[in-house]
């Protein structure tokens, strides 16, 4: 992958991909985001935690203890690097593959695990599938399963901030499949027209469940779609943590300066299935996956740290042991926590429970229970 500058409409080579972290573990100074070793160590821990929790959640699903998991295997740098670049007062709109970034911003692991089990302590009260948690405290929007619908919401918060003259930007995650949605079009178009501080982060991971990128779009890149909205589009090596941080920072700064939104295409690869409900061996060759294994985003950061003497095998062992311990503790509590009370099904539909829901609540509570177990 070649190094290149961020592309604005009509400038630079169209397929250029921003990369920073070289194979020898050094950084290209042209786009070096200037992370301290401590920053990189923090990010590295978050990357390892994301990968390790992904594996553990898949195991829980395979054991029948949770219903579902949608992971980020191979895409961790694109997710965490971009989240790192955003500030506390900014909004993040997840797709559904970004739990690692939520944890890094401060979502408690216990809260995530409570959501995975849909128990009484789940912030969304067991109303949604696993991986559909909410965390207002860290500027994390609510997650829905339909693809692309969050894109216009991110535009809306940035729009509101602009109307109020407040310093807040939005970052919205979506995949290559979402670029086919009407909300992608509307979101980029509105943000372009009103010059809103939005970072559109497209994780091009090669696949929308079983459909490859060639079936999503006839364009050579996803970034070039930005041209049609009069906004910059940038391609970045999504498996290069430093490059992702760098282009996201620049997009954010551009938005804060009042120059409008940026579309980032983070080129990465979905190393696992779409979710625990998917078997990718049915539609793709293992050779394609192996080709990406050599560009593992986490190993590349570890090599960088080791080159600088900033990471050791002992630290790695402590880190993985610590993650496992915290995971086991959180799961033990989540699994013991009872299900949400029946009455909670009727709360939060409206601000106050109206007569028809009160009637149905009474009917449910007084009625027979299903003969099958929950979860």
């Amino acid at each position: 992958m070649s190094s290149a500058q961020s592309r604005r409409p009509g400038e630079g080579p169209p397929d250029a991909v921003v990369s920073v972290l070289r194979d020898d573990g050094t950084l290209d100074p042209a786009h070096d985001p200037g992370l301290s070793d401590e920053d990189v160590r923090t990010l590295y821990r978050a990357l390892v935690q994301t990968r390790q929790l992904d594996e553990r959640f898949v195991q829980l699903q395979r054991q029948g203890r949770i219903g579902f998991h949608v992971g980020s295997l191979g895409e961790e740098a694109a997710i965490l690097g971009s989240a790192w670049a955003m500030r506390k007062n900014d909004w993040l709109f997840p797709c559904y593959r970004e739990f690692g970034a939520a944890l890094m911003r401060g979502l408690p692991l216990q809260t995530l695990c409570d959501n995975m089990f849909g128990n009484a302590n789940d912030t969304v009260k067991g109303r949604q599938m696993p991986c559909h948690y909410t965390c207002r405290a860290v500027g994390w929007a609510s997650i829905s399963s339909p693809v692309g619908t969050q894109i216009t919401h991110a535009v809306g918060t940035a729009w509101a901030a602009k109307i109020r003259r407040e310093d807040s930007a939005s970052l919205v995650y979506f995949g290559d499949g979402a670029t086919s949605s009407s909300d992608f079009h509307s979101g980029l178009n509105f943000a372009g027209v009103f010059r809103l501080p939005v970072v559109f982060l497209c994780r091009n991971n090669g696949w929308a469940i079983s459909v490859p990128v060639e079936r999503q779009s006839a364009t050579r890149t996803f970034a070039e779609k930005a041209v049609a909205y009069g906004i910059p589009g940038v391609r970045v090596d999504g498996n290069d943590l430093f490059a992702v941080v760098s282009v996201t920072q620049k997009a954010l700064e551009r938005g804060i300066r009042g120059e409008g939104p940026t579309l980032i295409e983070a080129i990465t690869y979905r190393m696992g299935g779409h979710s625990t409900s998917d078997d990718p061996n049915r539609y793709r060759e293992t050779e394609a996956v192996e080709a990406w294994a050599g560009r593992d985003p986490i190993e590349r950061v570890r090599r960088y740290l080791e080159t600088r003497g900033a990471w050791s095998d002992a630290e790695q062992a402590r880190l993985t042991a610590d993650i496992d311990q915290r995971f086991r503790d959180a799961v033990a509590i989540a699994e013991k926590t009872p299900l949400p009370a029946l009455e909670t099904m009727f709360e939060d539909v409206y601000a106050k429970v109206p007569w028809h829901l009160a009637e149905q609540r009474a009917e449910l509570v007084a009625g027979p229970r299903p003969g099958v177990s929950h979860g």
Partner: protein, 324 residues
């Protein structure tokens, strides 16, 4: 007090809401400079500026999705969808996002928006400027659905809708935008949501109506009274959640029910109304309930006055239900 039409009354409500609450913004297609294709937002951009009265690109899902984001941030958007017929690109945003946002976030967030949209036929608008799609919103948990029939209610209900904590679909019967006139107080007042209005008390049969068809029901009731049938007309005003008590009290008293709406009959709101009432007062009923509605066809252009459930079709229904 001054005499206003519906357009003026709604405009007045928007102006009062925007003056009294800095969070309120108005957005939609053509709402700014031109003041809306029906002029409902006329003059608002002059008073409140382009940042609070926003002409948007032509994209309903973009408008509603953007408004949801604004609402999450703490702004209170009042969206105009130019015709209800054009609302469907936003239906995913309304059903899957707006209506569920509080529920699916366990109450951490709510997306408070009012969506105003003109509905109904009788203006020579054909398929795409005439539909009356309330049933598609009444069946969505989390939404409230409101429809005024006169200027006083239009102003008070819109102010109540803006100040209600839940998302509201505010349907405006465009056929009577200018035809319905009445006294409207100048200041700020509310007509409470979920309060139906008995506009004509009667003893023999209960007629449920709303929006533009209320006047057709009233006309039919006046003609029925000449034939000795005394119909009670209830303007539902808030379709959902329904003011069930007012409705049940009336039907239990009259024992007879006619429901009027412009929308197609099958799966229309009339089906739900008749079921709700029958479940609760079957043994009070003296006759089978009757629905007088639009037909199960797309809304026609040339024959629209044949399609609409006007007075000439409501009158025989009232008489036959009253006499059976």
């Amino acid at each position: 007090m001054s005499v206003s039409n519906m357009v003026q009354a709604i405009n007045d409500a928007l102006r009062i809401a925007m003056r009294s609450d800095q969070r309120v913004v108005v957005l939609g297609e053509d709402v700014g400079k031109v003041g809306g294709v029906f002029r409902v937002t006329a003059g608002l951009q002059e008073e409140f500026g382009e940042e609070r009265v926003i002409d948007t690109p032509l994209s309903e899902n973009g408008i509603v999705g953007g408004a949801i984001g604004m609402a999450l941030y703490g702004i209170l958007p009042v969206v105009e969808i130019q015709f209800a017929d054009f609302i469907w690109p936003a239906y995913d945003q309304i059903v899957n996002e707006l209506a569920k946002y509080r529920y699916r976030s366990g109450g951490e967030y709510s997306a408070k928006i009012v969506i105003r949209t003109p509905v109904g036929g009788g203006i020579r608008g054909g398929h795409y400027h005439s539909q009356h799609p309330e049933a598609a919103f009444i069946g969505v948990p989390g939404l409230k659905v409101v429809i005024p029939s006169n200027p006083y209610d239009a102003k008070g209900l819109l102010l109540a809708s803006i100040r209600d904590p839940d998302p509201v679909i505010f349907l405006e019967p465009k056929r009577i935008y200018r035809a319905a006139k009445g006294e409207v107080p100048e200041g700020d007042y509310l007509v409470p949501l979920e309060s139906a209005n008995v506009v004509r008390p009667g003893r023999h049969v209960t007629v449920l109506a709303y929006g533009a068809m209320l006047y057709e029901a009233l006309d039919a009731a006046n003609k029925a009274s000449e034939k000795g049938v005394d119909a009670e007309i209830i303007d539902l005003r808030t379709l959902w959640p329904l003011d069930i008590n007012t409705v049940l009290e009336s039907v239990k008293r009259t024992g007879r029910l006619v429901v009027v709406h412009e929308a197609p009959r099958t799966n229309g709101f009339g089906a739900e109304l008749v079921t709700l009432i029958t479940e609760r007062c079957f043994f009070n009923l003296e006759a089978p309930p009757v629905r007088v509605t639009g037909f199960d066809t797309p809304f026609p252009y040339t024959l629209e006055m044949e399609y609409l459930p006007l007075s000439h079709r409501i009158l025989p229904a009232i008489l036959s239900v009253a006499r059976s």
